[in-house]
């Protein structure tokens, strides 16, 4: 665990390269590199414009509006916010335990979200780098390039995502802006016809998900030296785990391991998260840096998301995904894997688990039930934690006597991975950029490392004409000596004025 390359000595005398914005991640990210006169990397930072102001957006609203409103925070994982808010507000309405039908419908919605999000990331964000190479032709290295060169892979990616969206539509009422989950339960049952519609395709979906695990395994086998070391950053890991240490995306207790796999804490009721986690503010980034209180800022940072979850749990409670988890563990030789490219492998294991879980839930008649919500004695505070596609998502609210939200605290998945992403790109910069002239292909190595974490930086503003990527080289006197740009259609201009 190191803060090397976070802040250079004598920063004013160094050359600055900015990657603004990071491509194929959601929202606005910027990487700055400071190089000395010999192109030696002296400082590397990932800056992110994240959920600033989101808490204020929520405060003052009636609590029952919150599960719907929070979906507007993010166009990428609105269902995760919808459910995390609902779980927190379950406590406010006194629903200590949901009716089985409600919990299973929420689970179905959530696992549909995991399936579609992981499919999109692997087939359309990760695959261009993995299938074509990190410094391959930029014109091909995108979603459309995958569709051209690997049409069947692309078609499966589209249909996997579409299936996940259908699960969300049926359980949330609508695919976008759904209202299905409410404080205390859900407001919509699943009909037999809807269940049968999904059952028709689920076996194909499980099969394609299994094929996707095999595809990423083959890629690892073809180049283990790259996959096992690229951007490696040893760290602690954290996730929810379910009963008996099972992988569980919807509910459980907090568990953390150190970089060697030893347990740091386990069985922690997530309502007490603030006793275990703190956030550091650094002057150069809008995004905070969380750490485990007991270990302090320097040693307490951690990873979340698929790589953490699959290694943090004791088992996966569906058979095909459990076989794949064991094979992954064997590949790692009994020690935790810390190389970011392994996020792709574990993400596909999770996608397979999501598909299997959806299949099991569709065969469970409880999802057809009519007991949809419970309430009890009112409380003034609630904490909801869920494992979103990108990692642990925390929603914490206080509600006043007028039913208005008086306090809101959100810790989103990408924030947990802030230090890990910074460490990964520092490793990549040292390994690949040291002493070299910067090219688009080399810069993409930095972006590949970031994309492994599937960060969500957005949210959801996207108007046509936005999100170019610009790189500037600035000399020691602060004069721009070279500039390059990549527009929203992917064209790279190495000599942009």
């Amino acid at each position: 665990m190191s803060y090397q390359l976070e802040t250079a000595d004598n920063r004013e005398g160094l050359r600055r390269v900015a990657i603004d914005t990071v491509s194929r991640v959601e929202g606005h990210g910027k990487v700055t590199l400071l190089l000395d006169e010999h192109n030696q990397v002296r400082e590397v930072r990932l800056h992110i414009v994240e959920f600033r102001g989101f808490e204020r957006f929520i405060q003052g609203r009636p609590y029952w509006e919150v599960p719907v409103m929070v979906q507007r925070l993010c166009g990428i994982c609105p269902v995760s916010h919808h459910l995390a808010a609902s779980k927190a507000l379950d406590q406010v309405v006194g629903a200590a335990k949901l009716p089985p039908t409600a919990e299973k419908i929420r689970r179905l919605m959530h696992y549909g979200q995991m399936l579609q999000s992981h499919a999109l990331h692997f087939f359309y964000l990760g695959a261009p780098d993995l299938l074509f190479g990190f410094d391959s032709d930029l014109a091909k290295r995108n979603i459309v390039g995958v569709a051209q060169a690997h049409p069947e892979t692309a078609r499966r990616g589209v249909l996997l995502r579409k299936f996940g969206q259908e699960v969300i539509r049926i359980t949330a009422g609508k695919r976008v802006h759904g209202t299905g989950s409410i404080p205390g339960g859900v407001n919509k049952a699943v009909t037999r016809e809807e269940r049968d519609l999904l059952l028709k395709d689920i076996y194909q979906i499980v099969g394609w998900s299994r094929d996707a695990v095999h595809l990423i395994k083959e890629l690892h086998a073809q180049n283990p030296a790259l996959y096992n070391s690229f951007g490696i950053c040893r760290s602690n890991m954290m996730s929810l785990v379910g009963a008996d240490g099972d992988l569980d995306f919807y509910h459980g207790s907090l568990r953390a391991r150190d970089s060697n796999g030893g347990i740091l804490f386990d069985g922690v009721d997530y309502r007490g998260y603030s006793q275990y986690l703190q956030e550091e503010v650094k002057p150069w980034s809008y995004m905070k840096f969380p750490f485990f209180t007991a270990l302090g800022k320097e040693n307490g940072w951690y990873k979340v998301g698929p790589l953490a979850r699959v290694q943090n749990c004791d088992r996966i409670p569906t058979p095909l995904a459990e076989i794949e988890r064991r094979e992954f563990a064997d590949y790692c030789g009994g020690a935790p894997m810390h190389a970011p490219l392994a996020y792709h492998w574990t993400r596909m294991i999770e996608m397979l688990h999501a598909a299997e879980t959806i299949k099991d839930l569709l065969h469970d008649d409880a999802i057809l039930g009519a007991d949809l919500a419970h309430t009890g004695a009112r409380e003034t505070e609630g904490v909801g934690v869920i494992e979103a596609p990108r990692g642990t998502l925390i929603h914490h609210y206080r509600v006043d006597e007028d039913d208005l939200v008086s306090m809101c605290n959100l810790i989103v998945s990408t924030t947990h991975n802030n230090q890990a992403m910074n460490e990964a790109i520092r490793h990549v910069a040292k390994r690949y950029l040291q002493g070299k002239e910067i090219t688009e292909g080399l810069l993409n190595h930095i972006e590949v490392a970031i994309r492994c974490f599937d960060p969500c930086l957005s949210c959801a503003t996207h108007a046509i004409g936005r999100m170019p990527l610009a790189v500037e080289l600035i000399d020691a006197e602060g004069v721009r000596v070279h500039a390059a740009s990549r527009d929203g259609a992917g064209a790279f201009d190495p000599a942009a004025a």
Binding site: I143, I464, G488, A489, G490
Partner: protein
């Protein structure tokens, strides 16, 4: 029977002028009902264009994409778009309209239906902001164009109504 025309409106209602597209679509729904034309149009409202939207083009004879634009000439641009092999965005996993058409062409191995973009100039995109005054005026101009389009949903007629050749046109 599936409607022959699909209209996508893209944007986040809580992000200032990004709401232009969804708000135009919201206004269009009762207008189509009153005109007894609702059965001809499928209306799809989403945050971003994504790969699965390509599947919504199946069996359509015409497609329209409504979005807010940052540097779009005021008040709006209306133009035809076609599938473009180089339309994959390297900036995000969201797709451009050209990208959606290209994904359709690749996975369906068929030509996409004639498609058009109605891009309305936006000014402010902050979280929690409403529409700016300028965007309201742009949206009103775009509304008049939108109702002209819906009165005669015909590709040849829509080409006549284009006010720019669109990006990439010769």
């Amino acid at each position: 029977m599936q409607p022959g025309v699909v209209i996508f409106a893209v944007g986040n209602r809580s992000r200032g002028d990004d709401a232009i597209g969804p708000l135009l679509l919201e206004r269009l729904l009762p207008w189509l009902g009153a005109a007894a034309r609702a059965h001809e149009f499928e209306l799809i409202d989403d945050y971003q264009l994504q790969i699965e939207h390509a599947l919504e083009l199946r069996g359509r004879r015409l497609a329209l994409f409504i979005d807010a634009g940052v540097d779009t000439p005021r008040p709006f641009q209306f133009y035809p778009v076609v599938a473009a092999p180089a339309a994959g965005s390297s900036s995000t996993h969201q797709l451009s309209p050209q990208g959606v058409l290209e994904v359709y062409r690749r996975i369906e191995t068929a030509a996409a239906p004639p498609a058009f973009v109605l891009c309305v100039r936006g000014e402010r995109f902050g979280l929690g902001e409403g529409l700016s005054d300028q965007a309201r005026a742009h949206a009103q101009a775009a509304w008049e164009q939108l109702t002209r389009l819906c009165r005669r949903p015909d590709a040849a007629r829509w080409r006549d109504l284009a006010n720019t050749p669109g990006p990439g046109a010769a």
